[in-house]
């Protein structure tokens, strides 16, 4: 399936298994993230290492979730930017609102 959720203690890690993450999958993605927050998760990591491209709708789902989780004193961190995704985050200054890491262990440790 497109999304895989792993738990590491009180951290939920959602891996996006898509080369192109777009509006077609963004609703499902948003639901998965919000379900985690509603279940009490305050530490979320999204692994984008398989994504060669994410469109603005998919990015919108990340932004909405980040806003929700920070209102509850939680955080959403990102892992594994491929070059095109990295470039998009730089161009739109998203790196200023999301903390990003190169691998998931770094992201997990950053919550400890």
């Amino acid at each position: 399936m497109n999304f895989k959720v792993e738990k590491h203690g009180d951290i939920a890690l959602v891996a996006v298994a898509l080369h192109r993450a777009t509006l077609n999958e963004s609703e499902e993605f948003k639901k998965i993230l919000l379900t985690q927050i509603e279940g009490g998760i305050k530490k979320l990591i999204v692994d984008l290492s398989q994504c060669e491209f994410i469109d603005s709708t998919f990015l919108g789902a990340l932004v909405v979730t980040l806003k929700k989780i920070t209102q509850q004193s939680g955080d959403l961190k990102l892992v594994g930017f491929q070059p095109a995704v990295q470039s998009m985050f730089e161009l739109t200054r998203m790196y200023r609102i999301f903390e990003a890491f190169t691998n998931k262990n770094e992201a997990i440790n950053s919550f400890k």
């Binding site: 491209f53 709708t57 919108g60 932004v63 200023r96 609102i97």
Partner: protein, 384 residues
């Protein structure tokens, strides 16, 4: 199927465990101009339907593990794909089988012995009707948008003395979408140019994007009328504050670019919120470069940290605002146009041409006129 090829190439998903028969029907459908994807089981069919969102699903009934009826049932349970027209293609020709199929809300039932020609004829007729219905819906949407006076893009940019101001906007699927453009002449010397992109709202929720665009435009108008000292930065800061404090739209985010240009001094001031960087073309060097803005998406934080960049435009110089539909446009092989290609197109624009005409032609060549998002670009060029 020439009528359909003009507007789009319809995608058909064919689910059949019999590989040779699937190939035969795929060949016939492809030959008629359809894009045909195949799957060899109900589960694979379900995954491919979710992934490709076809215009039509054709499925066999007798398949191992998950038969066609079971496949149809899981499709009906999934809100993303339940509305896609569905045809059963089966060797089963008994009355009960056909009626069981129709009980599952299918569009048609074709017996395999009828052969590929009959299938192709039925598919063509069905998709033609759908295209007609879609065109009708699109035209109603246009009418509705016109009626509530909320055009997302003005028909023509205003005249700016000493400059050529032009834009190109191609809404995704021909329907007003997430991109919006606005212009304000705030005094005889000063023009404000606005380009925004409502994130995540494609034509499924066109009314939402149109309403949101209208909201931002009203906010800008109120600020223009009331602010004592106007700058791109103050407009952006004020718009962001009013959106941030409005709970009704707390889950909507937009990028926004604002340029304020003085046609006497040639000074253009630019502020951006999560937008793609403005391009400045220096005619004397024939070089295009990105001018980065630094603000956060509109509505994300109370303090968006909006700053302003200034460029002085000399004769022949130009600036460009654009949305992600431009640099994310793809060629038929799936390669993205990219930001460097955008700079190159701008640098290659012949000085005597309207840059928008040149870029539009180059982009249409690159994409073969197939776009998968709203496309918007605004150019402001100082006359030679």
């Amino acid at each position: 199927m020439p009528d359909q090829e003009k507007s789009f190439k319809a995608k058909v998903l064919l689910v059949d465990d019999d590989a040779s028969l699937a190939r035969l029907f795929q060949y016939s459908l492809t030959k008629e101009g359809f894009e045909c994807i195949t799957a060899s089981s109900g589960m694979e069919g379900f995954q491919k339907a979710k992934q490709f969102l076809p215009d039509l699903i054709i499925s066999d009934i007798m398949m191992p593990n998950m038969n066609g009826f079971e496949f149809r049932k899981i499709v009906l349970e999934d809100s993303d794909i339940q509305k896609i027209p569905f045809i059963f293609l089966s060797a089963k020709s008994g009355e009960d089988d056909i009626l069981e199929g129709y009980d599952l809300g299918i569009s048609d039932y074709v017996v395999k012995t009828a052969g590929p020609k009959v299938l192709v004829a039925k598919v063509t007729a069905l998709l033609k009707n759908l295209e007609k219905e879609r065109e009708k819906a699109v035209s109603e949407i246009h009418k509705a948008a016109d009626n509530i006076s909320m055009k997302v893009v003005p028909d023509h940019p205003p005249d700016v003395e000493g400059f050529l101001l032009s834009h190109w906007h191609l809404p995704f699927g021909g329907v007003p979408g997430g991109d919006f453009i606005d212009y304000f002449n705030i005094d005889p010397d000063t023009t404000v140019i606005i380009l925004g992109d409502v994130m995540g709202k494609k034509w499924g929720a066109w009314y939402f994007a149109v309403a949101y665009a209208g909201y931002i435009r009203s906010a800008v108008r109120v600020i223009l009328q009331n602010a004592k000292e106007l700058s791109a930065k103050t407009i952006m800061t004020e718009v962001n504050l009013s959106i941030f404090h409005d709970n009704r739209i707390a889950e909507v985010f937009a990028t926004l670019s604002i340029v304020m240009v003085n046609n006497k001094t040639g000074i253009a001031k630019y502020a951006g919120a999560g937008d793609l960087p403005m391009v400045f073309f220096d005619a004397s060097e024939r070089k295009a470069e990105f001018i980065m803005s630094n603000g956060l998406l509109l509505g994300f934080a109370e303090n968006g940290d909006y700053e302003e960049s200034t460029v002085k435009m000399d004769p022949g110089d130009s600036i460009y605002l654009y949305t992600d539909g431009i640099i994310e446009a793809r060629d038929p092989l799936g390669n993205q146009l990219g930001k460097d290609y955008l700079l190159k197109m701008i640098e290659l624009t012949p000085p005597h041409l309207n840059p928008i005409d040149f870029i539009k032609n180059r982009m249409n060549e690159f994409t073969s006129m197939k776009y998968d998002d709203d496309v918007s670009i605004i150019a402001l060029k100082k006359n030679l």
